[in-house]
């Protein structure tokens, strides 16, 4: 059985269950305003540019089909990728989990003799906690994506896959820069252009004086060994071209079979994610080219639980994810709780299915329930991942896991079994219906109910049971 992502390293598990963490975010009015504004803006932008594409549904089908094909022959494609990367002058490393990946990257950086690296925003390195591992080895990682830099300077955690600082507004960002950015102009205002210029001055020094860069990858083409990063700011391109050594850490699911397949994803990704027709910067590189760009290229292929996801025939769809974050932007739960409540670098609907699968469902048992199953995520997903079905599947996995680990069934399991039994025995069901009228004893608005039913009365009245059920009416008519 393939192993899951190890405990004690990386950022896939939260310290507290979702409902507890969510309660804190829900009480933060500023956070809810920031999130509500940002997600509704990006939703509208994205919907407008998707409407322009007459074959959007066919593109989604194509993206979904390419990903399904990729997953069906992942080992073969990864070997093909390795052969192509090596032939182009790169080196390929295989990392079974976060611990191994961090060690490989740290050793590679240490071998160059540098004590500072610059980073292209990367979910994979966030997932494995690479920054912390580098710092522990005396190496300073500098994030160069603007939003990621804001999070790093603020000693904060990212709360969105694409817009890590979505939970911050510009006044908060100004304060972070004033407090944490070395040599910042003290008369800084909260104008976006002024803030961006300050970050640019800060980052230029890093770009020109740092010899090693670490990136993620959006795609890797098996047939040619080409890697691709798409971004909006150009800082990523600086990282990918200026240093002597480039180390890319990539989840094994990011491989695609052919160069032509990129055509589909480069149409789907920007429209679904940032609401742009095309992302401003698309960088691609294949191994090394003498005299141009990094002269030493390493590709670290990361498993960290992905093989376990692949082994689950329902859940494996989660590996189709191209990290566009469209599901976050349409999710009514994410919009109100923000990303931190999910406790993982992968928040929102995709995080609620991916994180519990990477860690094993018991390590993130509250996440599959962090959804009302409204289905907006499924409709928004550019590669048609059926997130609601995976959520329901994982809930059943959790119940099964709980059952095998505990001698006594949970109170919920007892209730559910009793309810199913009752509903399968007509006289008992009819008696229970009559019993529902006893609910009047719960108080006029149901405020006397025991947990978990008391959750209902946080903000709603209970319906008053009618004097007669439908079936009683039917029998008497």
């Amino acid at each position: 059985m393939p192993t899951t992502a190890p405990r004690g390293v990386g950022h896939l598990r939260g310290d507290e269950p979702f409902p507890v963490a969510a309660r804190r975010s829900l009480a933060d009015a500023q956070l809810r305003r920031n999130l509500g504004h940002a997600t509704s803006t990006i939703r509208a932008k994205s919907a407008a540019v998707i409407d322009e594409v007459p074959d959007w549904q066919e593109l989604r089908e194509a993206g979904s089909a390419i990903k399904a094909d990729t997953m069906a022959r992942l080992p073969e494609l990864l070997q093909q990728l390795e052969t192509a990367v090596v032939a182009a002058g790169g080196t390929v490393h295989w990392a079974v989990d976060a611990v191994e990946a961090n060690r490989i990257v740290t050793d590679l950086v240490t071998a160059t003799g540098t004590d500072r690296v610059m980073k292209v925003k990367s979910m994979a390195t966030q997932e494995i906690g690479l920054n912390e591992a580098l710092e522990a080895a005396g190496i300073e990682p500098v994030e160069t994506d603007l939003a990621e830099l804001i999070v790093q300077l603020g000693r904060d955690k990212p709360s969105h896959i694409l817009v890590p600082a979505i939970h911050r507004n510009r006044a908060e960002i100004r304060e972070i820069f004033l407090r944490e950015m070395p040599g910042v102009d003290p008369s800084l205002t909260d104008e976006p252009a002024i803030l961006a210029a300050a970050a640019r001055r800060h980052l230029r020094r890093t770009f020109l004086s740092t010899r090693v860069a670490i990136s993620g990858a959006n795609f890797a083409v098996a047939e040619t060994g080409a890697l691709a990063v798409v971004e909006s700011e150009g800082n990523g391109r600086m990282c990918l071209t200026l240093p002597d050594t480039l180390i890319t850490v990539m989840g094994i699911e990011k491989v695609i079979p052919t160069w032509a397949d990129l055509e589909v994803f480069l149409q789907l990704l920007p429209r679904a994610s940032t609401g742009e027709r095309m992302n401003p910067y698309t960088s691609m590189w294949t191994g090394v080219t003498p005299g141009d760009g990094p002269q030493d290229f390493h590709l670290v292929l990361l498993d960290n639980g992905r093989s376990a996801v692949l082994a689950d025939e329902v859940g494996r769809q989660a590996l189709h994810c191209i990290r566009c974050s469209a599901c976050l932007n349409v999710c009514p739960v994410y919009e109100r709780t923000g990303g931190h409540a999910y406790g993982s670098v992968y928040p929102g609907p995709i995080g609620a299915v991916l994180s519990p699968q990477l860690t094993g469902v018991e390590d993130n048992a509250s996440l599959p329930y962090a959804s009302s199953l409204c289905g907006a995520c499924f409709d928004a997903c550019p590669v048609k991942i059926d997130i609601p079905s995976i959520l329901v599947h994982l809930r059943a996995e959790h119940v099964t896991a709980y059952r095998s680990e505990h001698r006594l069934p949970s109170a919920e399991a007892v209730t559910m079994a009793a309810a199913a039994y009752t509903m399968d025995h007509l006289p008992m069901y009819e008696a229970a219906q009559r019993g529902s009228r006893l609910a009047r004893f719960a108080g006029r608005r149901g405020r006397g109910l025991p947990p978990p039913l008391s959750g209902w009365t946080v903000g709603r009245d209970l319906p008053q049971p009618p004097p007669q059920t439908f079936r009683e009416w039917w029998t008497q008519r």
Binding site: F18, P19, A22, R23, L26, R32, P332, V333, R336, T337, P368, Y369, A370, S371, S372, L373, C374, G375, A376, F378, D379, V392, R395, A396, E397, H398, V399, E412, A413, M416, A417, A419, A420, Y421, M423, D424, L426, Y429, Q433, S436, R445, P452, L453, G455, W456, V458, G459, R460, D461, L462, P463, Q464, P465, P466, Q468, T469, F470, R471, W473, W474
Partner: protein, 260 residues
């Protein structure tokens, strides 16, 4: 046409007016409604909470109960969605291929009320009369699970006397989500608060939908705030006629000071 009513456990137990209205409406249109008495619950709550094994017996019961009927109707998009998209999965998960194919057959003959009226019976004008300002909440499962589209709106637009007002951000979930409302009560309440804000912004007297469950949630919130806005199932509006008006609202709301 002979139509079997799949009443749903929620309408049977707590919202019989929605089910009675469905019967009255279909009989008024000249159809024979039968009520297979062995039915109880489709098992959606069990399936969505992680208990497909417990739901299996309810899927069996549902299949056994509805196998003899050619057309089945339910006043709930959510329960129809479960029959269509979950029953066969639950059966297959248990290795019962025969049950799965029976469930698929029944699913093909099972319609949500607006689907039956518009697609099967070919009607949009039902000669209904409902002189109120009404806003329509398209429940998530109507919208995205069984895709009823604008059928309920077409039916509502044909109701005489009815002033239909558009609900802002109508497509956003009300936050019910079955056991989600209990397990994530705070998030659910936050979603409900926004939904209620939008309902109140329409200045409607009545908020309607095709699912008693979502209406129970929204109505429970509106009653708690003593807004005076009633929640009424789509079937109750469509069943209402000028010569034979349906009983207005539910008894509970009267105690909350509903304007006449």
């Amino acid at each position: 046409m002979r139509i079997a009513l799949f009443v749903t456990c929620l309408a049977d137990t707590l919202f019989p007016e929605a089910a009675k209205a469905t019967v009255r409406l279909l009989e008024r249109l000249g159809h024979e409604v039968v009520f297979p008495q062995d039915q109880t619950c489709c098992g959606q709550m069990h399936i969505n909470t992680g208990y497909p094994d417990d739901a299996l017996r309810l899927v069996r019961r549902h299949v056994r109960t509805f196998a003899p009927y050619d057309v089945v109707v339910a006043p709930s998009a959510s329960c129809v969605g479960s029959v269509r998209h979950q029953h066969a999965l639950v059966a297959r998960r248990a290795g019962d291929e025969r049950l799965a194919s029976q469930a698929e057959e029944i699913a093909r003959r099972t319609y949500e009320l607006s689907e039956l009226l518009v697609d099967v019976l070919g009607l949009t004008d039902l000669d209904a009369y409902y002189p109120h300002r009404v806003t329509y909440h398209p429940t998530c499962h109507s919208l995205r699970m069984i895709r009823v589209g604008d059928k309920p709106l077409r039916l509502l637009r044909a109701v005489r006397g009815l002033d239909l007002v558009e609900l802002p951000q109508a497509e956003q979930c009300c936050g019910f989500g079955g056991t989600f409302a209990l397990k994530n009560a705070d998030t659910s309440t936050a979603m409900l608060a926004d939904k209620m804000r939008h309902v109140l912004a329409t200045k409607a007297d009545v908020c309607t939908a095709g699912d008693a469950s979502c209406l129970m949630h929204i109505g429970g919130g509106l009653a708690r705030l003593r807004t005076g806005v009633r929640t009424v199932h789509l079937a109750e509006i469509l069943a209402n006629t000028e010569p034979a008006p349906a009983p207005a609202g539910r008894a509970q709301r009267k105690t909350d000071g509903v304007p006449a």
